[in-house]
């Protein structure tokens, strides 16, 4: 399948930084998927020049997030295009030439030739397959400042077409970005019903017991999250100024305590993950005969 040439590949500074950090902190090589969105934007050259050309349309892709895993594990089956917007994939391998490898070309080919994964950029009727390939390497000799190299390609017609990667940051020079902005925050799906007098009683009758139990568990979880922050407390804010301050301070303290517990939890689980990683590493070394 021959794709249209992508005119611009953009990535936010934060995403690129996080990608590079993931690559450099990994024990070995890593690879993964790149997600984001694509849009056709009609640039309108605001020019006083009388002969300025007609507005040209540009196919712009923006990488917003990624999924990475060690490269000895195969990439999971890509998610269907309806739920997320898969733009392509990346491969991060240390101290290698900045050229696509045997594996890179095979993986890019299979990814871009799958019609189920094609996406439709905004404002257009084109079909774009996940053909972006981002290659991340490190220089052959360790250097203090120059620590990473990367190159973006579009896999088109069986070959890698090098593309420049523009980094998006915040500031006036990135104003044109807002044209193609699309919020893509995904809230977790939780069927929390409003338990109250106006809940539809008839529906509940139809629901099976298992469904009810499920709902109950979700509700409990939701209640746990909102513990100490009941809706009733909002009314207390309204009574008097003194009560308002006291209530506010109380809420704030509770929030701090919650964050504190949360960060402790994260710390503990991270320590456990690290412990397991080390154990895995020792097992791997034993399997590889390195001990």
């Amino acid at each position: 399948m021959d794709d249209f040439p992508i005119d611009k590949i953009q990535i936010s500074g934060a995403s690129l930084a996080s990608l590079l950090h993931r690559a450099s902190s990994a024990v070995g090589d890593s690879h993964g998927y790149l997600f984001g969105h694509a849009a056709v934007s009609t640039s309108n050259p605001l020019s006083d020049h009388p002969t300025s050309a007609a507005p040209t349309s540009l196919l712009i892709t923006t990488i917003t997030s990624f999924l990475s895993l060690p490269s000895h594990l195969p990439l999971p089956p890509p998610p269907p295009s309806s739920s997320t917007c898969l733009l392509g994939w990346f491969s991060a391998r240390r101290k290698t030439p900045l050229r696509p490898s045997l594996k890179d070309s095979a993986a890019s080919l299979s990814l871009s030739s799958s019609p189920l994964l094609a996406i439709t950029p905004q404002n257009s009727s084109l079909s774009l397959s996940p053909s972006i390939f981002l290659l991340i390497t490190t220089p052959f000799h360790d250097q203090l400042i120059h620590t990473h190299e990367y190159k973006a390609f579009q896999f088109r017609g069986g070959s890698f077409d090098p593309k420049s990667l523009s980094i998006v940051n915040i500031g006036p020079s990135f104003r044109s970005q807002y044209d193609s902005f699309s919020p893509n925050l995904q809230l977790p799906m939780m069927n929390s019903d409003l338990r109250g007098p106006n809940a539809m009683v008839e529906d509940e009758i139809d629901e099976s017991l298992a469904g009810k139990r499920d709902q109950l568990r979700n509700q409990k979880q939701l209640d746990l999250c909102a513990e100490g922050f009941e809706i009733g407390r909002v009314s207390k804010l309204m009574s008097s100024e003194a009560a308002y301050t006291a209530e506010m301070e109380d809420l704030y303290d509770k929030m701090l305590a919650k964050i504190d517990t949360l960060s402790k939890l994260v710390e503990h689980s991270n320590a456990k993950v690290l412990d397991q990683e080390n154990r895995n590493m020792r097992l791997r070394s034993r399997v590889a005969g390195l001990e």
Binding site: R99, L102, S159, A288
Partner: protein
Amino acid sequence: MAIDTVPPLISAQINYLIGHCPFSVKVEQMWSGCKNPNLLDRFTLVIPYCLDHVKWDVIFNAMYPLAAPDVIFGPEDEGFQPYASGTGQPSKNSLANWNSRDPSRLYSLIVELRDAYMAFQRRRISEIDDERVKFEFSTMISREGIEMYMSLGTDKPEEVKFAVPLLDIDLNKLVAGCTWRHPQKVYLQVIFPVGKKYSSVPPPPRLKLISSPELKALLSTEDFKLPTWVDGMCTAEYLPNLEQMLNTQIKDAVSSIEIRRKFIQSLAPHLGRPIEADPVFCRRATFLCSSGLFTFQVHCALSLQFPKQQPALVLQSSQHFNAHGAPVKSPTLSEYPWSPRWNSSEKADRIFDFLADEALNFKKNCNQLNQQ
């Protein structure tokens, strides 16, 4: 852990590859790509192709040595995607179902990739829009073992190179007792420029006779005078004459081994049995001699032009050493009375006479050196 370790699974693959490969493959450098810089898991393979080399980087993963390797090809070969058949079907190849416990896997992968590379170059050359190259390609493609290469440089002109194996005989069997591991061949290298327009007759291609490196002990292709290329000729026409000439040359080269052997044997009555000699090609022999109390070795090197060219002699003292502890040697002596028309015993007589005089000079020099 020792410094610079190659994980055993990876080193087993490399050793098998080097030990069993039908062409002489070399590991140029090894380096590490993981957090522990002492674990070497990537290396460059130098693979002979079309009388030159291609360099491929093989990327293993020391952290997960059970995983299959990845290969990065040269910068000129970005279009080379052997396992991207374009049909969408995963092609059967050596990387599929990689088993790190089987040390022959890397070997089969490299052999398979080299074959694919050969097919890739052929396809690339068959697509060139150049009448002459098209014709040469169609007449030469059927020759067994032919390799071709197209150089695409931005700074150099586009050229097509053919490496044509000559003479369908097994050279390894010609020389008794030779220890060549790889099959030896003589190739004609033919280089055609691409896409040039000529007003009249195209100029002859660049021709060069090249032998596999180990064959140099028997035959010198540099001294071989190539037949002239007649205007308007093609390579297929040029080859029969060349092969005939080469065949005679090789027969001469094989029979010259016997001449050299006889000569070394004829030296024995004068100088004693050689303490060391090359028994296969008879290109060199070392004798232990003495002149009075002074003992020294005579290194005798016979060129391929022997007996036209006289043997080069080097004397080495067994009693004098220089400041670095190495034995004192004379410069190479190749100017002494000699005639190719003398019979072997006379040649030996004359050398003995010359050595008897030269030994005294050499002894004097050695003594002077030691006194300084």
